[in-house]
Symmetry: D2
Subunit: 145 residues, 4 copies
């Protein structure tokens, strides 16, 4: 099952070149990641305030194929997957320009793709720990079959 | 008629105090303004790329009553109004914490309120000009009766 | 004595209109406020991590007189002042376009001016408290004689 | 010859986890890139307003080794290099926590590293073109011997 997040491009996302500022598109991917957590029943305020679990990003990358301008609508497909290390996971993002809040069709080509790798830590002790159950559940909900 | 914009607070909106960074709430008000333009039939890409009309902000202000944290949902009421000068208008924003994408009830108190004053210019010549018809239409659609 | 903060405008500060996005100029004012705290000997990491003192912004406003574009240099004059309430202070900002990191001359006119009003609270209990000594010291260092 | 950019971490850079928001560190790398252009004599306002040359980012990636908090100072080493394609170049960034605006010592380990790949286009026609002379000069100034 695939998770899609729909997001209008706002003026604040753009830069003087008239298109979305490169780093802001990674923020939009993170919004999509947050929305996929909520859609799996995770309470974001609890998650981000936790004293025992934090999942900072260790690596992020993004490829840009087409620019996006103010007012355009983008569909972000979020695909998380487990990694060999029990403290890590990875999320892939495919971004499409769409006309309405519906998944892209087979014919649509992504305008950008990105990925983030996350490492689960105990934020107080700052050492690695295994992923908590709610993340394992989220991985099984939106990850590959 | 009142226009409402609904917006989840994302991690990128927050700061190290754990709540929305003050200037980011003004950006969210601007998103609401943009959404109200779209809802009045205005094509944002055309609007923001126009060589003959630009409507920069001359003044902005915001009052904060309650903090917002990541994952919370905010409803932004947008109320534009004409001003004595034919080149200017003002927009007021009332922000409410809500549980779903529905207008707040009479009992709800705003968690913040803001306003922006805009001046219409010719962006090439950089002098004032009267508001274009599509803004006058937008003012009549969402403004006071 | 006046405190000045110098800041180059970066691409990330701009929007598709080719100038600094309105809310980003308030962020630049906040940077200037932070720099004035450091210049008064305040350790920012300690300040922003304190469990007993937080000084959120209750009100912010800004007037724009001239646009700023990428690569330009701005001088921000920071002028804090005490208010009648012992839990509050206000900061005024005058922004000037300058050619080098030196205070503007008498002939220079500000391209924007802003102010923020801050309320000191205990962040754990979330009630008001008097300003701590290090803020009173900062007020006396950069405030009016 | 190496170019270093020094940047204090401001409150706006942080998120509710108390550290710099991941995408904002890429923005700080872009600031360092802009500063290296200026240090090679390039006029940023002219560069970013050009109708004949634009150099959008086609790929960006970043690895995070240690978090950064508000008030800390970071040194960003910028190392551009030519690529086989005459329309492209790449920039590498090594970020260090430092106590003052001086290059890190041999003993210092980077707290993050990033890279961006840029493609030179004609922004009006939106097709590739060779890098302009001022970029070739910049590459020779800050690139590998």
């Amino acid at each position: 099952m695939a998770f899609f997040y729909y997001r209008t491009i706002y003026f604040a996302d753009t830069d003087a070149a008239g298109v979305v500022y490169f780093a802001n598109l990674l923020s939009i991917c993170h919004e999509a990641y947050e929305a996929s957590l909520v859609a799996a029943g995770i309470q974001l305020p609890d998650f981000f305030r936790s004293q025992t679990v934090a999942i900072p990003i260790a690596h992020a990358q993004i490829d840009f194929f087409q620019p996006l301008t103010c007012g355009q609508l983008v569909a972000v497909q979020v695909q998380p997957q487990a990694l060999p290390q029990p403290s890590e996971f990875q999320t892939q993002y495919h971004l499409y320009r769409v006309d309405r809040s519906e998944p892209p069709t087979e014919a649509d080509r992504p305008i950008a793709q990105a990925s983030t790798r996350h490492v689960c830590i105990n934020p107080t002790l700052r050492h690695r720990r295994d992923l908590p159950d709610f993340i394992t559940h989220w991985l099984s909900q939106w990850g590959p079959d």
